[in-house]
Amino acid sequence: MRILVNGASREIRAADLSGALDELGYGGAVVATAVNGEFVPATDRPAARLTEGDRLEVLAPMQGG
């Protein structure tokens, strides 16, 4: 299915958020996730089902003021 990952269209096979992160190259990374604007805690990722057209945000630590 196609979903939006950080604003870019991506094709993924995984049906859950945890699998999608592995597939997209985030395995082991310190990131926080939101699907369709709602925060999904790391503990909920395996149970979070993704559907066609979902908007996934994957955020990581960055410089800030």
């Binding site: 310190v30 604007g37 955020l59 960055m62 003021g65």
Partner: protein
Amino acid sequence: MLRLYDVELSSRLLLGTARYPSPSILTEAVKASGAQVVTVSLRRESGGERAGQGFWSLIRGLGVRVLPNTAGCHSVKEAVTTAHMGREVFNTPWVKLEVIGEDETLQPDVFGLVEAARILCKEGFEVFPYTTEDLIVAERLLEAGCRMLMPWGSPIGSGRGLNNLFGLQSLRARFPEVPLVVDAGIGVPSHAAQALELGFDAVLINTAVSQARDPVGMAGAFAQAVAAGRAAYQAGPMEPRDLAAPSTPVIGTAFLA
């Protein structure tokens, strides 16, 4: 000692981590500043580049506390969601809450700020609200559960210093027991010293250090200014006068005309 929520800090300088020429200069600047708290943010991470992982590793290596911000958020929902994401990634209840109302001045949307602060405080966050010097907004933020305030000196990145001196002094006088950290707008060490001389508890600085020709040198200069300003406040500055008052005793002056 400075106490922010339940944490005691010996440094009264909080430092931002953005816009340094290189990671090594950032590292050296943090050390030179003596800061025990640095601000950090969250941004989109690419699964290929994983740039954020290296940055996080660098920050962890510094052994300082992190204060995640909600920079760039224009709505209550965005700010609250970003705060949740920051709490998970950085493993801290602290959040520098920014709800931006207007892009040219990056002025806080104080209505959204109070609403977001109320939500986050109830959820157990320890909120550092980036606000104006407005007294009523300050009252509302404290009612919402904030136990400290971060009034702006002047717009973020402007380097204009303490833009509304009277307003800031009123804020200090109105809330003598609340930790107040001047955040944003400080451009040179004398601005920071002035804030501390007025009794503000600390300053948060980023651009003034990171955009200096020598950020490490400037970080050290700010550390000295903050220490001097605090020492001056504790020593009790003299009252200004409108006319001159001779410092040399007049009694005993020779008559030589």
